[in-house]
Structure formats: structure tokens, C-alpha cells
Amino acid sequence: MQSLPQILEGVPVTLLLTFFSISVGFCIGLLLALGRVYGKKAISYGCIVYLEIFRGTPLLVQLFIIYYGLPAVGIIFSPIIAALIGLSLNSAAYQAEYLRGSIQAIPSSQMIAGRTLGMTRLQSIRTVILPQALRISIPAWSNELIYLLKYTSIVVYIQVRDLTFQAKDIASHSSRYLETFLVVALIYLLFTFVFSEIVDRVEKHVRIPGIGLTQTVAKRNA
């Protein structure tokens, strides 16, 4: 147990990876989703190519390319930067798909109603479509947050000193694999529990009165 402080040193790194990647991934993902749904052909096609590449290849391979591969063409990142880039770009692809589903779930008549008031397409998207689409994407987004928290653990392979890295370090020196990794598992569990609890509250808070039913359906389908 005297190694607990060393394990906890990894916590801020894991949280940084999670929060940074989910946020940047969300911004890029939103642009990708909008580009795919509303963009002209070329833009829409470009978005699809991005999504296929990042969802069709393993995250670990993406991280290896960024960290070990890119130096060959003169682009060198520190482990943590490489991890932040890789996780963000990867999460963007998944978040884009969740968001696209939610955007397309909003009837096109909502957009038409906005346009008949004199709103531009962009105004309708911003004030009519997105406020509704984002709400129904919360359950799926919550899954992504939890996946991402857990997937950050593979950054040990590119030498990032996160929670799992510290545990591996301690375990290999002390040979106390079982205790060490059980403690680490518990820490991950604690965070996933807290995160889903928070997202749940947010979801309830922003729920549109009178349409609890649609939300339940969205959750079940997520």
C-alpha cells in the first residue's frame, strides 16, 4: 500500500487524456457530423473517408503511427502529446457517428419550420436542430466517455505515464500483480461510476418536459 501515492500520480494523466480527448473529439466530431449531413458532396465524402479510416483501424495502431511512425517524416511528438492527438482524432470519429444519428433523428420539418421564419440554414441548425439533437445524443455520448476513459489505458504502449503505466511499473518491481491491478481496476471503476452518474443528472436536467418517452427510447437504442 505504500505504492498508492505512485499509482495516484497516474490519475491526473488519465483524467487529462480523458477530458481533453472527449472535448476536442466532440468539437471535431460535431463538425464531421454536420459536414456529413449538411455538407456538399465533396465535404460529405471527405468526412466519410475520415470516419472510415479512424473507425476501421485499431486505436493502438493509430497511436503507433503517430508516436513511432511520424518521426520518420520529421514529425516528433512527446508521448503525452501523441496520446492526446491520437485519442482525440479517434474519439472524434465515434462521436461524429453518434451525433449524426441524433441529427438525422430530428424530423426535417423542424428545419423547414425554422426556415419559414426567415432563419438561415446555419441559424436553423444552431437554434433548432442541435439543441434537440444534442439532448438525444447524451446517452450514447455517455458510453463514449466511459469507453474513452478505459481506452486511455493503452497509452502505456507509447510510454505515457498514466494510471495503468504506474501500476505496471509498481507491479513489475514488487511482483504484486494481483493487488496492484485490483486497486487500479477499482480506481477506473470509481471514475466510470462518477462519470455516468454526472451525465445522468445532466440528462435529467436538460430533458424536455413532456417527452420522457422519446428519451427512454433513445437510451434503449443507444
Binding site: Q110, A113, T116, G118, M119, Q123, Q132, G210, I211
Partner: protein
């Protein structure tokens, strides 16, 4: 000069020609009702007017501006053309009040407090001041439609297009909506697609009968109901009056 002028509108979807050369006019504060069987392009015609679904051929003019001209800024023009939908199409994430005020805030750029005050007045005019804070899912169909009308009116339109505004309503809720529409007659121009013959007869300045993408006949309610020129008009009005009541 007429306020709204529709000239020889054609519209096709694939090989199906829905509108085959429609022309008519609407003057300031005039009420015109379009009737006809379902699937004759009445709704399409309304969407061709505000360019939500632009026509393939023909012209639409409003207040001396050609809407079918691609260089016309339709976002500006649409503020002057209210639209009331069959399925209401209220913004589900906004309260009744916000539904009415959002156009004022986002499109007309009126400051929030003033927009809200104006929106509240509009809701009051349609008898819904008590429902201002409720969301669409908490309102009845008739209430939703009255919010829809208030939303259109708040923008100070010169004309309002109604696309079967009572067709999705339970029979006992139709009256409230029709009363609101009646109260608007003569204050703003209205172009109304409806099956409510009693309403058409009492409120319309002119009735337009459409079928198969053409205007078969148009005229005053008096003429259309009592001595229409075309056999087909008499047949249709006779049949539909049995269904929807003559009043």
C-alpha cells in the same frame, strides 16, 4: 399591383408533374381558400410560394419583388410570409413563449425582453397566455396550432400561408383554431388550404378549386357553392359539403 402574384407555376417530382401551370393573385388583407382532393398539389403550391421547395417554372411575386429570382434574399422575404403547418412543427425543445419569440430574437434581432413581451401578447391574442411556459408535448393539438399561428403572427407577416391547419386536430379542437383564423380575416392576407367548407364559405373572399395540378375554377363562395360553372366543381362541393357540413 397585387400583393402576391403567382404566374404559371410548374412543379414536378421525377416524372410526376404535381403543378401544371398555376396562376392566381392575392391582394392586401384578402382571404383566399384553396380546396380540392388530397394529392392535387395544394401543399406543394404553398411551398413553391415561399421557395422552401422552389417551382421548376413560373414566377412568384410578393410586394413587387420576384421571389423566384435566385438573387432574391429569401431569408429576408420569408419573415413577411407566415406559414402554419398541418403538423404544427413547433420547436419541441422550446416553451410556447420561446416558440413565438425565437424568430423575433434570432431573425429580427429584437432584444430578448422586448421579444418576450411581444410573444406574450401574441399568445394572449390566441388565448394561450396561461400556457406560455409549457412545452409543445404538454399542449393539446388545438393549443399547438394556436401557438403555431401566434409564431407566424409575431413576425408581422403581410401574408400567412395555412397548410391544412385543422386536418390533424380532433374535431372538438378545430373550432378554437378556426375562430382565431376568422379573427384575422381582413387584417392580414391569408392563403388557406383546407377542407373546412363552412369556414371557406363564411370567411373566404375567394375560393380556388384545384384538381390534378390545375385550377379548375375560382370565384366567390356565393358563386362556387350556388352556381359554379364547371360540373366538376359542383360535384366536388356537393360531396365534400355532405362530409364537412354546410353551415
Amino acid at each position: 399591383m397585387h400583393m402576391l402574384e403567382v404566374k404559371e407555376i410548374h412543379k414536378s417530382y421525377g416524372s410526376c408533374e404535381v403543378l401544371k401551370g398555376i396562376s392566381f393573385t392575392v391582394d392586401k388583407d384578402e382571404t383566399k381558400v384553396i380546396i380540392g382532393t388530397s394529392g392535387t398539389g395544394k401543399s406543394t403550391l404553398l411551398k413553391c410560394i415561399n421557395q422552401i421547395d422552389p417551382p421548376d417554372k413560373g414566377e412568384v411575386w410578393l410586394d413587387g419583388e420576384e421571389l423566384t429570382n435566385l438573387s432574391t434574399d429569401m431569408n429576408r422575404i420569408r419573415q413577411k410570409i407566415g406559414f402554419v403547418f398541418q403538423d404544427f412543427n413547433l420547436f419541441n425543445h422550446l416553451t410556447a413563449l420561446q416558440n413565438v419569440s425565437i424568430g423575433l430574437e434570432k431573425v429580427k434581432k429584437i432584444e430578448k425582453e422586448k421579444a418576450k413581451a411581444r410573444a406574450f401578447d401574441e399568445l394572449k391574442n390566441v388565448g394561450l397566455e396561461k400556457q406560455a411556459g409549457q412545452y409543445p408535448a404538454q399542449l393539446s393539438g388545438g393549443q399547438k396550432q394556436r401557438v403555431g399561428i401566434a409564431r407566424a403572427l409575431a413576425m408581422d407577416p403581410v401574408i400567412i400561408l395555412f397548410d391544412e391547419p385543422t386536418s390533424a386536430l380532433d374535431p372538438e379542437l378545430i373550432g378554437d383554431v378556426l375562430d382565431v383564423m376568422k379573427s384575422l380575416a381582413g387584417k392580414v392576407a391569408m392563403l388557406i388550404v383546407t377542407h373546412e367548407m363552412g369556414f371557406a364559405r363564411n370567411v373566404a373572399d375567394e375560393i380556388i378549386f384545384m384538381e390534378g395540378g390545375n385550377i379548375i375554377e375560382s370565384g366567390s363562395p356565393e358563386k362556387m357553392f350556388n352556381n359554379a360553372n364547371k360540373e366538376r366543381t359542383r360535384e366536388f362541393l356537393g360531396r365534400i359539403s355532405c362530409l364537412y357540413g354546410k353551415e
